[in-house]
């Protein structure tokens, strides 16, 4: 069930919303049970046979979370933490990366191991990271007591289940436990609906229309000339932003209907003035996870820290970020290019005091991001390289004939450009609305 499907918008969501406020009158914990059942239903709608996977994950991690929280010796707790994290990564690896690993083994050793062809359970990458963050927070003593229903709700809360944002237990639970959030809040309902509409607009009008053109461009990329290559790559760069941020907007809006505020995940990322700045604005909750749960612990584990070692760690963290997106070497290249971009930024900041003009910096950053997304979207390396060749003008120029039947896509791209560079972010809208509402009261 997708957020923009009629069954979700006109049946599932209104029923759950009505029951949420209605049942909360009668029982202190009714909202938890309802959202858990709703979450499982939402998840199982996609493939009921794969839903036991998330149930196993919840039971296992709840058990190990509690074990870690017990008053045990620190070394023993550490061992349990490592085992639990290993289990989660293994679980993810089996379902998401097994065939990728087998293909590479077959290629390297000229072997002929059969692929497993396992289906990939929905949202697994997201709830795996969310779970690891939970386990580490348990280890650090940041999470005290957890009921099974609380933990289940934390994982299965349907607005952020499929595409994030990656949330933290304490951030969510303080809101779920707040009694005031079980009463209808008109401001949140109005704001939630507006944000859902913004998300729908981004997803259906912009992203889905750009996707048709992008599909066309990337599937026939062998012959794309200069303008076609640029239009294709730019269309995807805007498509992925509107697709992802549109979906997150919908998630934010839906959560607000339940009086739950999800963390900001996008903050006008294409206005970034460096790659460092880009990762402070793009998929913020993923970047926070990578920083807090991989980068900082890794740096802290070093006996002696120096600039070179930190740069190497940054590079590897971004390789992980790349492969997290999917089982393909192209995602690894995407991650590597971002790692390289970050290192370049850090070296520049270390060596030079000169600050580039804001608009030039933004232009350079955007174009670098656009280039990296070519690898993210392509089906294979040849296709990526062919588009980049086209963008460099090595496949020729055909301006007049190429643009003849491209009016629609140019209009959409123009709207996208205006929205991305001239408008404020959805999170700004939420803050503004909340501030004005506070002033009124």
């Amino acid at each position: 069930m997708l957020f923009h499907s009629p069954v979700f918008l006109f049946l599932f969501l209104p029923i759950i919303l009505f029951l949420y406020y209605y049942l909360s009158r009668f029982s202190k914990f009714a909202h938890e049970y309802l959202l858990i059942i709703g979450g499982f239903f939402f998840y199982a709608w996609w493939n009921i046979y794969l839903s036991p996977i998330i149930i196993i994950s919840i039971i296992f991690n709840f058990y190990f979370g509690n074990l870690i929280k017990n008053d045990l010796h620190k070394n023993y707790k550490k061992k349990i933490l490592f085992f639990a994290i290993f289990f989660n990564i293994l679980f993810l690896a089996i379902f998401k990366y097994a065939d990728f690993i087998i293909e590479n083994i077959n290629f390297l050793f000229n072997s002929n191991i059969d692929l497993l062809n396992l289906p990939f359970p929905l949202a697994m990458s997201f709830f795996t990271f969310q779970t690891i963050a939970y386990l580490v927070d348990c280890y650090d003593g940041n999470i005290k007591r957890t009921r099974f229903t609380q933990y289940s709700l934390f994982i299965i809360f349907f607005p952020q289940l499929i595409a994030g944002p990656i949330v933290k237990y304490n951030h969510m639970m303080s809101q779920f436990d707040d009694q005031n959030n079980r009463f209808i809040n008109r401001q949140n309902i109005n704001l939630g609906l507006v944000i859902i509409l913004i998300g729908l607009f981004k997803k259906i009008i912009l992203a889905d229309n750009l996707a048709i053109f992008v599909e066309d461009g990337f599937s026939g990329s062998q012959n794309l000339e200069f303008f076609a290559s640029w239009l294709t790559s730019l269309s995807f760069t805007f498509q992925i932003y509107f697709d992802f941020s549109g979906y997150v907007d919908m998630a934010t809006g839906i959560a607000l209907l339940f009086n739950i505020r999800l963390p900001i995940n996008f903050d006008s990322p294409y206005k970034a003035t460096s790659i460092i700045n880009f990762w402070q604005k793009w998929h913020i909750t993923l970047a926070n996870f990578l920083t807090n749960y991989i980068y900082f612990p890794w740096v802290k584990s070093l006996k002696k820290v120096n600039f070179l070692k930190i740069m190497i760690i940054i590079f590897f963290v971004f390789l992980i970020a790349g492969i997290w997106h999917g089982p393909s070497w192209l995602f690894v290249i995407f991650g590597a290019l971002h790692g390289f971009g970050l290192i370049t930024n850090h070296v520049y900041r270390k060596l030079f005091d000169f600050k580039l003009n804001k608009y030039i910096a933004c232009f350079l950053t955007f174009n670098y991001i656009n280039l990296t997304f070519v690898f993210f979207r392509s089906d294979n390396l040849n296709s990526s390289l062919s588009i980049i060749k086209g963008m460099l003008g090595l496949n020729g120029f055909e301006l007049p004939s190429y643009f003849q039947d491209k009016t629609n896509i140019l209009i959409i791209l123009f709207i996208a450009l205006i929205i991305v560079f001239c408008f404020k972010n959805t999170s700004y809208l939420i803050d503004k609305f909340k501030t004005e509402a506070k002033k009124e009261t």
Partner: protein
């Protein structure tokens, strides 16, 4: 454990984010300065550890992203 005061904390932050100390105060946060990135954060925390002989865990590194939070942590 050595004590460290607000002025010294501001001075450390100022050094690593390359912003004059007069532009940093108790209410300053990492979000206020584009230079206060994850690398600067590592360097700030490591120098504070060195100055105070107090180890700051990896789990705290992501939380101590404002002058106030650093001051409170070191109290």
């Amino acid at each position: 454990m050595s004590k460290i005061d607000l002025e010294q904390i501001i001075s450390i932050v100022s050094k690593h984010i390359k912003v004059e100390a007069k532009n940093i105060n108790i209410n300053s946060k990492s979000k206020d300065f584009y230079q206060w990135d994850s690398l600067a954060q590592v360097n700030i925390i490591l120098e504070i550890e060195k100055k105070t002989n107090q180890e700051i865990g990896a789990n705290k590194m992501g939380e101590l992203t404002s002058i106030k939070s650093i001051v409170n942590h070191l109290k």
